[in-house]
Symmetry: C2
Subunit: 392 residues, 2 copies
């Protein structure tokens, strides 16, 4: 009998109709003679609502207490799903993070799983129970409840799969797999059948929301076979494994939530770039890249995430004084696929398409499985579609 | 430094304004140089809502899973109250039942506290934390979450007070103490200053809602000084201790949620009463008293709670066959106070008042601290007022 781990996200659990769909999906896997561990998130918007309620009591709630509060969300999910599966005639047991033996570091709000004591889970599986575990949470050395941060339930599922040497870890969500580009932006994208861990990591880091990168890192380390799929259909999803494939572009991703900032100073000072860099970091603004393109005057450009723009504008009014400044909303386009680094044709073709469309390029970065192009303006979905069409 | 236990019920925690009132009450006690343990219930109607949500998934939810679900209510309360007290500048720590070392029997839904491992609570008090404990919940020998049943938070508070040998256990609610009769029914009732454990037990059993009888039993056993009071004012409440006082009536209570049932059979059979009694018990209908008043025909009367009437009517249509049956909504009036058993004047006076008002009596029961009179009809609040006026 194989052990199978199934993970369901919050939007798959948000009402009783969806809970019934999830329950029937679990029953299908159970009836195929598998031992089943289910990992669930909090229902729907529960976590967001609890955060909102806490912020009404304090601008900066204590992190330990926040974790105690937030962990109730998954606890509600596990018990409800268990009650429902019981009613449908199946033996189940719900386990909170601490009951499931998920031991983490002490960092409340962003704890890391240190080890999983699988005794309880194994005993419950041996007693023919469907085991339903609360994702996103664990217990630290002080016996306090911790949470793993956003996307933590994916990490819980993959870590349990690794500890139990499960045959398969399914991550179910609203979408049935990883696509060659965002289907909301581009027509005629295709679902990717198989990705290597490194390719999936590159996609996660570029903002593909199907899997959290922490969970992919754990899967890579312990060689866990992940399959993504939709809660709401039975289509074959995307398989993430350690397979190395022929060089090709698997996916084209565009991130428009970036700003290119240029500062011009009249007087020049050799350590100005360093000073600026550290100033930004000390205000929790992380420049994605920074470029000293001084010629006559001192001229420095860098890109930041849109969410950091507010913090940067405050800095501009205070600690940074310069001649002129400008900021533009730009795009980063990433092509992901094994072997891109060694495939000159792909790089040339991509740059050529951008050139034909008169898109000015700010920077190009090349990695083993990824080509990232930062432009000097926002790139239209039409151009993305052309890249997708020509390269995939 | 004295250890003080403060317990707040759900209606004292139902919104942020009330949470602030509770927080300030806690701070008042803390600033009087006390070590503070706070025990809280779930906010407002949380528990009822969770029960309703579970029943939407299953008519008879698994009890273990229900306890996991319901325990989230108090977990939300402890973390929110902790977050608020932090913001007001106080060091706090929230503890769930299992974190607070509250070990119970295995009976999910109605577990009994077996012992409290107070190490964690004591360590947190020594670190000058206000310790906020989730009431109503604990952990059993299987490492599963249990709940103590309705009124369980009172029991948690008194049990913690007993284990820590706390100087005082305050039970705060909407009302500031125990009254000589229900203030909603009778004008000019008075608040009782002091009650013995036995008197309070008699009142709790007769439906006075200020304290749950289980908590009073624990307080009696371990000699815990309870003070009831209102969350919303600073009036002196009612003290419950082991003091024995002069014989007098402290409180008059009326319960109208009772039905008197009479069954008439044509043929007589000696063990009919026993059979009926066991039949009722096997259907979880508990007759409060039963009377064989057969003369010519076999004639049996008994009283049941209104909530059992539905179950009984089902029985009537099935397993019980008799000549005629009747049921009437009746009242039980209880006079509570130490030494009533030996005070003939009180008993005579009470029966006389009922007689003047033409109230037919079904039964009279006399105990050390209590006189209970079951009538054959529902007794008006006006008569209750007369009893209160003449006897207290």
């Amino acid at each position: 009998m194989d052990i199978i781990v199934l993970k369901f996200g919050g939007s798959s659990l948000s009402d009783n109709i969806k809970l019934n769909i999830v329950a029937n999906k679990i029953i299908d896997f159970y009836n195929k003679n598998n031992k089943i561990v289910v990992v669930v998130s909090a229902q729907g918007k529960t976590t967001d609502n609890l955060i909102k309620e806490a912020k009404e009591l304090s601008y900066e709630p204590n992190k330990r207490e926040m974790d105690t509060l937030l962990s109730t969300g998954e606890q509600v999910s596990i018990s409800k799903l268990s009650i429902l599966l019981n009613r449908l005639g199946y033996k189940t047991i719900s386990l909170t993070g601490w009951q499931a033996g998920i031991y983490t570091s002490n960092d409340n709000g962003e704890a890391k799983i240190e080890y999983i004591d699988t005794n309880r889970i194994k005993n419950e599986l041996d007693a023919n129970n469907i085991v339903i575990v609360a994702g996103f949470q664990g217990i630290n050395s002080k016996n306090d409840i911790t949470t793993l941060g956003r996307g933590g339930s994916d990490t819980t599922a993959v870590s349990i799969a690794a500890s139990l040497q499960a045959a398969h870890c399914y991550i179910f969500s609203d979408v049935d797999g990883v696509y060659s580009a965002d289907p909301n932006r581009i027509t005629d994208t295709t679902k990717i059948g198989e990705l290597s861990y490194d390719e999936m990591l590159d996609l996660s880091n570029e903002g593909a929301k199907v899997l959290h990168n922490r969970c992919v890192e754990v899967a890579k380390k312990y060689n866990v076979l992940i399959e993504t799929g939709s809660t709401f259909n039975n289509n074959v999803g995307t398989l993430i494994n350690n397979k190395i494939e022929e060089s090709c572009v698997k996916s084209v991703v565009k991130n428009d939530n970036l700003f290119l900032i240029t500062l011009k100073y009249e007087s020049y000072n050799a350590d100005m770039l360093n000073k600026l860099y550290f100033l930004l970091l000390s205000h929790e603004i992380i420049p994605l890249n920074i470029l000293n393109n001084s010629t006559n005057s001192f001229n420095i450009s860098f890109t930041i995430k849109a969410c950091d723009l507010g913090k940067f504008q405050e800095l501009l009014e205070g600690e940074i004084s310069m001649f002129t400044s400008s900021f533009t909303n730009i795009s980063r386009i990433s092509l992901v696929g094994y072997g891109i680094m060694n495939n000159k044709n792909i790089i040339e073709k991509a740059l050529e398409i951008l050139n034909i469309n008169s898109v000015e390029i700010f920077s190009v970065e090349l990695e083993e499985c990824k080509l990232s192009i930062m432009t000097k303006e926002k790139v239209s979905d039409k151009i993305l579609e052309q890249l997708h069409h020509e390269l995939i």
